[in-house]
Symmetry: C2
Subunit: 457 residues, 2 copies
């Protein structure tokens, strides 16, 4: 018997997940192991513990344990902004005149403005528990850096952020949020690391890149006693922490007896998508239920729809472990697409393997269409979405319009990962009709694929 | 019997208020009537209906009806972002080592970033119902303009915003949010109105003022068929709509058997404060309960603590009705304090009268101290507060620290009206140690008081 469904489904605090779900445990064919870039052999917990703190290194490599208890301190932090609401998009449905039922899981109701906080607090917590003094990281668009700054401020941990120089200059407000939370924010490439000095000497006046910022953050962590490096996407540990999104979504749906048909998430490195779909993919793996899962990526950076499934470097500096994933090649330079959070050459190895096994499909969409959907959504649902999140909105709208044609009453659930307050430069371009689209050519991709490392799989 | 108190108290949708509360109905001595600026006689609904739409003119002048039903369409819109959470500030309490229990009503969880949406949707709704084509308004800091743009986009109403020119240029992102919602945003003074052209001719290169923007918005409304002017604070109708804040707060406290001792709100024009305290002040007026109510204003614009209680103009252009209120004089020019939402020379006539009757006390605080409290709050509670809201935080912290001294277990409730995402220029000044304070001199105030209109009361 269905209860009447409210606009927003909030779980009670006692209904919130007490453990994260590790979808790899239920995969018969596991994601390929990370490789040590020097030996090309599967990396060990001990080796990984030089970069990441120990518990996180363990989580990273564990593909058999289905559940990890969420420590009480992290659950207390989660309670400050979770449970996030599962919202019934009644107004969007009305606008689209669709028989579909549309729900979105809104992760933007916290100061970091996105889902990134779910993993930031976990990574900071384990660093603190290990007795570390601080962590280093890189940030591009700034969501991850903001989230990590908040988590570190809460735990009294030092936080050093290498921010891609062009973002540092173009997004001064993001920078100031991090500083307000006490983080040390350095434009990258900087003169504080060897790799930074080398790049500055080689390319005077460069505005930096994510690859360079990663290398600087890793060097900074290795060079300071009591520091480790942390990363906000791609990794298995991040997907594990982000499973809280999917677990809450599933609990909220179950509470009201709602069965999802289609689940949609935007996909950059895979942190939000992987977190959202984990428990649903787990059901599919166990033969308990069936869903249509759609990963949405920008046409300008189409790792799933046009990439190859191969071992590749996670960073441009080639210091991190090698990962088997759908990739455009680590030498691929994404165009200046405004969805900074989706400009990554590769995809989480777990999401990649699920995709390879046919558990999800992928679709790529162009930027201008994405912003049109974003604006319509903002007007009817009252939330100004982040450009990244709007990729999911665009496909949810497309699917709902299909239902209008067919008359099908499908239940569509999508992840609304964040808000667009710090993306108004992109919205301004859209409002002024000056937004452009970009699709990489076959030649570009071929060139980038040719530079992939040759690893016998 | 107390239920265990969660971090965040969310009312169920069926527990949300179905009527607004008009505190004037329970005041034995009513606020003084608005005066027609030409006749100096109490203004009539008919006269007011030339500026405001009819239903709102009625609400403005009605001081006997205690409850106004909230139309279903408005309640549906409220459901998109309400109920707002009443949050137990467990982490702040721990940080302050206080026996006090601190709660805050958080109104920042919507794209407008503040409580302004509560009245924006109401005003837009009545305009739509009257068959109007659109509304005009002014905005300074931008919260009100954003909220009105959202409400108008939802209802398909045209929205014309006159934005103080210096804000238009310094806060381009606010402007773009409004444009994304389809509003027409004009920097004021503009060349589109007579008063704008006159001021531009008189003061070439002027960066504008709120008073001028109001005059332009009123002129624009009067000069277009099917348009009316709307305002986001000061007015009785606005306090009526904002009573939803106080009603929800009271319902949430009652639900868990919590009795507030101290209620704190920041005070600019009085919209948030008046809305938050209405039901509590109503209880006091009826002798049902007693509270300590504290209005917090910036030391740079101290209308309650240093103003006089007299009839004054609401706008610099002197086109709006005269209101009896605590005022610094309409010729008082507040310093460039960053809390744009608190830079108003006067105070809601209802809040002024409650203050005059001793139902609330007022305190003024300096900006740098406010930002210190804001930063501490952000670090422990995870929300980056608006500078305006942070005035309430500062006094809540002071009160909680007093409890640490005395050992008293008081229950402190304050209004957290909004978020600070668009105020990062101010935070940057604070982070860089370049924030300054300003307190008007006695001479300045005397000069401004001398220019008050002479109205026999």
């Amino acid at each position: 018997m269905k209860k009447e469904i409210p606009y927003k489904i909030y779980l009670e605090e006692q209904e919130m997940p007490k453990a994260w779900y590790n979808v790899r445990a239920d995969m018969k064919k596991k994601p390929a192991p990370l490789l040590n870039p020097e030996t090309l052999k599967p990396i060990t917990v001990k080796e990984l513990s030089g970069i990441f703190c120990e518990e996180l290194a363990k989580q990273e490599l564990d593909d058999v344990t289905p559940y990890f208890d969420i420590p009480e301190e992290i659950r207390n932090f989660y309670r400050m902004y979770r449970p996030s609401p599962l919202v019934r998009a009644y107004c969007l449905e009305e606008k689209l005149e669709t028989p579909a039922h549309i729900y979105y899981k809104f992760e933007g109701n916290n100061t970091s403005g996105s889902h990134k906080l779910n993993s930031a607090i976990a990574q900071a917590y384990y660093a603190k528990r290990q007795g570390l003094r601080g962590v280093t990281t890189e940030t591009g668009a700034g969501q991850w850096g903001t989230a990590l700054s908040m988590a570190c401020a809460y735990l009294g941990l030092d936080c050093q952020v290498y921010m891609v120089k062009c973002s540092y200059e173009q997004k001064p407000f993001r920078r100031e949020v991090m500083r307000t939370y006490g983080a040390n924010v350095t434009p990258s490439p900087s003169m504080t690391t060897e790799v930074g000095r080398r790049i500055n000497a080689q390319f005077p006046g460069t505005s930096g890149s994510l690859g360079c910022a990663i290398s600087e953050a890793v060097e900074a962590a290795m060079g300071q006693e009591g520091y480790r490096y942390v990363l906000g996407s791609v990794l298995n540990q991040v997907l594990l922490h982000q499973s809280v999104i999917g677990l809450e979504t599933k609990a909220a749906l179950d509470k009201y007896g709602i069965k999802a048909d289609t689940i949609i998430g935007c996909a950059g490195g895979g942190s939000n998508l992987g977190g959202l779909i984990s428990p649903f993919a787990g059901q599919m793996l166990k033969g308990e239920a069936d869903y249509e899962i759609i990963a949405v990526e920008p046409a300008s950076c189409p790792s799933l729809t046009r990439g190859v499934y191969a071992y590749d470097f996670c960073d441009t500096g080639k210091v991190c472990p090698l990962s088997k994933m759908y990739t455009l090649g680590s030498s691929f330079i994404p165009s200046a697409n405004h969805s900074g959070g989706l400009r990554y050459h590769g995809m989480s190895s777990t999401v990649s393997e699920l995709y390879d096994q046919g558990l999800l499909i992928a679709r790529s969409v162009e930027q201008t269409e994405v912003f049109k959907a974003a604006q319509m959504f903002a007007k009817v649902e009252g939330i100004l979405p982040a450009p990244e999140s709007s990729h999911a909105i665009k496909v949810a709208v497309d699917e709902a319009l299909k239902c209008r044609e067919t008359g099908e009453e499908r239940t569509i659930v999508f992840g609304l990962t964040g808000t667009g307050y710090f993306d108004m430069v992109a919205y301004q371009k859209f409002n002024d009709g000056q937004m452009s689209d970009y699709i990489p050519t076959e030649e570009e991709l071929e060139k980038s694929f040719a530079a992939l490392p040759h690893i016998p799989v």
